[in-house]
Amino acid sequence: MAETIHITIDGREVVAEKGLTILEAALAAGIDIPTICHIRGEQESTNPCLLCMVDIEGRGRVRACVTQAEEGQVIEVHNRDLDAFRKERLEILAESHYGDCRAPCNLTCPGGINVQGYVNLIAKGEYLAALMLIKEKNPLPIAVGRVCPRFCETRCRRILLDEPIAINHLKRFVADYAKEARFRDTEVGKPTGKKVAIIGGGPAGLSCAYFLRKQGHQVTIFEAEDKLGGLMRYGIPGYKLPNREVDREVQGILNLGVHARLGKRWGTDFTLQDLRDQGFDAIFIATGLSRQKQLEIEGAEHAMCGLRFLKEVNLGGKPSIGEQVLIVGGGDIAVDSARSARRLGAKNVTVIYPRSRVELPAHQRDIEEAEKEGVQFFLMATPLRIMEDDGKIKVEMARTILDEPDERGIRHPIPMPGSRLTWTGDTIISALGQEGDPTFQSYGELEASIALTPRKTIKAHPSTMKTSVAGIYAGGDAATGSRTVIQAVAGGRRAAESIHEYLTKEKPSVLEPRFNFTKGKRFEDVDMHNFEGYDIQLNEVMPARPPERRTGDFGEVQLGFSEEMALREANRCLQCGCLGLSKCTYRELCVDYKVKANKARTRLKYPLDKSHPFIVIDANKCIGCTRCVRSCRYDAFELELSLDEKTRMLTDVSIKINENCVSCGACVDACPTGTLSKQDSVVPLLPAQLSSVKTVCTYCGTGCSLDVVTMYGAILEVKADQENPPNYGQLCVKGRFGYTFYRSPDRLYLPLVRDSVDEPFREVEWDDALKVVVERFQKIKDEFGPDSMGVLASARCTNEENYLLQKLARAAWGTNNVDNCARV
């Protein structure tokens, strides 16, 4: 036993081995002293990060990494002054740091999906892993991939270069791919014994059910209609989202073991108290908004309700609407009603809206599609009166102007004095949007105690989805008012997380810090030098049926990307989000010490260096810790730092990997920021999201220990296992980078068979191949004896496989003709 000493660290008595530094002694005792530049067992940095400074009683402030721990020392790691000093140091480092922690697409997605991650998994051909990464946040990718208004794409930096990545089309591609591949996602958590009731089987309810089930809770959805899907089934028309696709999404959720009680209407068939009495531990209300705003003009009773019209159409009905149809409103329901009306045979469909074109609440993309299908938009106009006359509808209308601003500064449209127009046609559809319906409060006592917002929706906390009643949560449109499917999905997920915490008292395992260095929140803040060297490559155009064909039926308009298109599109991604995220000690400390991200530099200083075959160098992110140089065993790393003498701020960095480099990759794994990252490793993850499996390298006979980082069946990177023999953290180029063969496009997946070698191979199923193998081996054995056959085993296969091969030769066939490739 080595000689020991006694020291005190932040009031804790520590017995340490003699001869260690304070940092090592603390580490050995499990006490964390912040440091960036220290590498265990290596020389300390020539440009120390100074974060490991500690106060020793009676001695003052010292660097823990170079100060010996001595008997009786009383050490403070944390005090106000030290922590302030560290914050200051981290902020000085920030002044020369430039980059995005998270990509704008990722930050913008209401669902919080790791957009950059899944786009790049698609680029690597890892479609199922991409799908599962999406499903971490969005269990309805088939639906959302067809109807999302794509918040992410509006912030895509590629807009500054040419066009945004067609992110949502990529989402749809992997969702459809998984469907084709009959991929099933049925893994659920261990049963918790907790029961949750969900009222409403729309996107919010389904999403909540999915995430609760994944945690192992028992979930029952109560749905008033005959089928699950909510607005996705009864609101969104089939030409955008076919019902069979909704069926698939619903089936996927049900396959997890989610219960559904169909045709059960809240208030009629049960109350909240009934659910509690049935033993449900929590309730999530996601009933959506079934009430449409009323048209408040004379003769409004002659107008058909848009929401009901869409529902009827989606159920396969063919309401008789005649040839001339007028639609009042400008939102999704209006445009969907108009496009549906065209498909029902209406020749002349007009949408009337009292404001200008850019103010139409419906998505511009949908408006364009509607126009292509012959829908007309009559803008700056409003109906005043509806009359029925001999089976025809007559509408009195006026052009509108904008009134003086009201007290909130909003200018409302009003009829232009003296303007009078008349429209005569067959049907008028009112599609003014949905609104809250407080009648549920009359269902029971519990219901009555649920608080409402001023807009008569259920009042729920925006991040926990808690209502005013404990154990009851609300989300989706019922709480937020009319929003998109992805927002409902996000609400359902947040509710599930919150309910899980309520039921189990477990905190969420991965917390995404809000801290984010950015190259610019607004497009105009982003340094255009970032895009130098990129070629213009416009996005892939979604194949669609031509307008004249698609108005003849309710079949889907958009046909989906082919694999080639998806690969091309995904490869356009600029990879804004930092690929060093999972190893970024610097960011973690910035979070811990509450550094302000706006301290960071705002301009690109050094071009991205992608000249190394495996390593990307982004000198803009360098904080000068010199871990890279010190980890290089081949004198291949050239790092030059210039520092401001007074502040020690990094004023200039030069990073070069010279011709000595053997591509072992040690420098990348040592870098505590995204300055060095791996070309192949393209999914930005938080440290807590990293999961790895230990295994052994299978190139040469050294048998190095590997730490393979994986995600949903895709290998993200290979690292050296620091703890285990024989390599203890070292690897060669093959060990660290030679793993992508497993997803090579020419990998064999099915047996190949042919009768003679001058024929081409046929791909066959396993049973057929085995039949051929067995019959022909047997025939040769019978005819020429077992010694006419042999086995060549492999120095690449496992012991178990080699054992079986010689057993096959000797025991099954009866020959000693077995050898292996050890000679090569």
């Binding site: 024989p726 180029v733 496992t798 496989e801 010689q806 077995v818 292996n820």
Partner: protein
Amino acid sequence: MICGANTTEAHPIIGLKIRDAVDRGARLIVIDPRKTDLAAIADEQEGGIWLSIRPGSNIPLLNAMLYTIIEEGLVDQGFIDARTEGFEALKEHCQDYSPERMAQLTDVSPELIREAARVYATSDDSMILYGLGVTEHKGGTAGVIALANLVMATGHVGRPFTGINPLRGQNNVQGACDMGTLPYIFPGYQATDDPEAMKTFAKAWGVSALPSTPGLMEPEMYDQALKGRFKALYCVGYDPAQTQSDIQKVRRALEAMDFVVVQDMFLTETAKLAHVVLPSACFFEKEGTFTSGERRVRKVNKVINPKGRLKADWEIICLISQAMGYPMIYTSPEQIMTEITRLTPSYRGISYKDIGNRGQIWPCPSKGHPGTPLLHTEKFPRGKATFVPVSYIVPEEEADKDFPLVLVTGRRLEHYNNGSMTRRCEGFDIIAENELLEINPGDASTLGIVHGQIVKVESRRGSIKARVKVTDRSKPGTVFMTFHFQDNLTNLLTSPGMDNKTLTPEYKVCAVRIRPK
């Protein structure tokens, strides 16, 4: 002392450890015709020695070292007396191998040979690492014996930092041999003609008898196939049509067979000659154990699920066996390992479950045994070790008037064997896109060829094209190529010569000529 091993490229982590040792003051002796990284380090090191040997002359060189050790009284007589036998005969045999006489044959000066012998013999601890540069010769086995003679004469064995270590080229060379995929042994090196072993295995495998005819080694299978007597081959995870020597012959042999089944991840050169190709899962997609070069049995864990309907090799083998009427019913590699440990004395104490992340080193004869990293501490397996005198075995083919250069083949850092894995990994073709013919500047200028030029390389068996890399790494009179590239099959050139015992091809020596294209 590193003999015939380019460790920084073929075993980079071992190379790194050697460089670390050199940094800490270890003296380095490198025996290699090529100026490999370690050869260069040895050459520059104060007290280091690089013996740039003529390819194929290991035995005369090693015998000359032994001669020096004996002549200069550097032997460990105590060790020789206590642990060995047959030293007198060896001493007698060595008389013909003085460094002065061997200088011309080995192309190494007598002073250097003597100096190397002294450094090796007199160091407190000396360790030998050797690679395929020793074994892939007609005198491969004899070369290993020559090394062993050096070890035993100096007593550098059985202690930490000593001994003789073969560097395994493939991840599971050790394990494949341990498991008995050799024609003459059962698992655990138990002879197939030992009646006791036959009885044990027949009983364990539930058969009335096991074959008593001696099995064929791989090259013999090809010979028999060409004679029409070997009809069917089941080839798993091996690509002899690219990596065997003299592959024209291998290909003819495969074509002569009635039925060839290849099991691999990709359509290899051998798979292209098969009747049936069975796709297999890779090591990320399955579990099991590998035994590394230090006899360390390591657990390989499943990292990802196999894509599509891929199966692990062991599952496919079981399916074939069962369909042929011999039941092989295992649900996991663990069950197979349990059977292995029952039948393999050196693996008896290996526990699949508890193997951990560090592995277990055999011999591990009983449960709870810590494993045996260091062998021969007290005695050798047969008791006393025997010195076996070995003589120079001339390579099958030497440079001559028509084919004036010697081709040495080997590995490069950036690729691995037939390249089926590395050549499919992103980035690797950037660092090493194609085959390179390494040639000394002097030879290049004599031939009038320049760096980057594409030339024809011809041997008596074939001809391929390759890009020239002029480098002083190649010894004058020798050229070097790898065998990693499917589009440049170097083994069309290599020699038909083989080690007469193991039938290991003589990859390290064949006569070639170069023609500007």
